[in-house]
Amino acid sequence: MTARIGVVTFPGSLDDRDTQRAIRLAGAEPVALWHKDKDLKQVDAVVLPGGFSYGDYLRAGAISRFSPVMETVIEQAKAGLPVLGICNGFQILTEAHLLPGGMLGNDHLHFICRDQKLRVENAETAWTSDYTAGQEIRIPLKNMDGRYVADERTLDMLEAEGRVVFRYVDFNPNGSLRDIAGITNEAGNVVGLMPHPEHAVESLIGTGRTDGLPFFTSILKKLVNA
């Protein structure tokens, strides 16, 4: 039986279908999850997709963090369930305190959409094992509130523990401290990043590259070998 990977749809999610498609292309079975359901339908991993859940009112991700589905996601993530948060999903993970720090409006105050170069700093998380440490990839980035901030102590801790998973290369698109594009929790099962790997999984579409596909093959390999 193939791995089942849940994708949560919140009101305002935009990239849930792209994420389901990426999961299918990687060879796993995508399972649609609804924000009002506490039930995770026995999935083996969960992706919180990009978008503007609840309109980003109050703060990006702040309202979704209290949705019924997140109650279960938070509980299970703490018990080891692999969870990937992309863009708005990353914002939700920081608001839920599953990842440290917070997300704020871009320092230039504009929405930004570009093809972004990243360096993979940590290839040992549940979602990055099909990359190699130091590898540079290019995947799309599109956000309004992509500025990662944390206090100096937290940033030093993330660096010391190898928990900065991705860093922006050549250009910092939003003012994120220390060029941080993505981080992981202590156990390595929860990963959040601002750019969108699910938009770079087919050579015929978009950027023409498939630099984002290893996210979904990494988790599949981990689940199948588990």
Partner: protein, 87 residues
């Protein structure tokens, strides 16, 4: 009925580009002598019943867990006297 005001501000050490954009516009508008602007959020909560210690404690909890993200923001809670509205 009483009003409780929750003010939320970014922590002082965190860059506030919105406030800076406002500040940079001031000389152009003829306002000199304002060296810094920071922009925050104000929530006005209309509370049914008395704002006693228990009610305030609940609002404090609400502010801490939801209205503010204390990783990046500070908040204050204060009770505002509502002028007796003309009936």
């Amino acid at each position: 009925m009483a009003r409780v005001v929750v003010d939320v501000m970014l922590k002082p050490e965190i860059l506030d580009p919105q406030g800076q954009a406002v500040q940079r516009a001031l000389p152009r508008l003829g306002f000199d002598g304002i060296s810094d602007v920071r922009q925050g959020k104000r929530f006005e909560l209309e509370v049914d019943g008395p704002v006693d210690e228990a009610a305030l404690a609940r609002i404090h909890e609400l502010a801490e867990s939801f209205l503010a993200n204390t990783v990046i923001e500070d908040f204050t809670v204060k009770v505002e006297e509502v002028a007796e509205a003309a009936k």
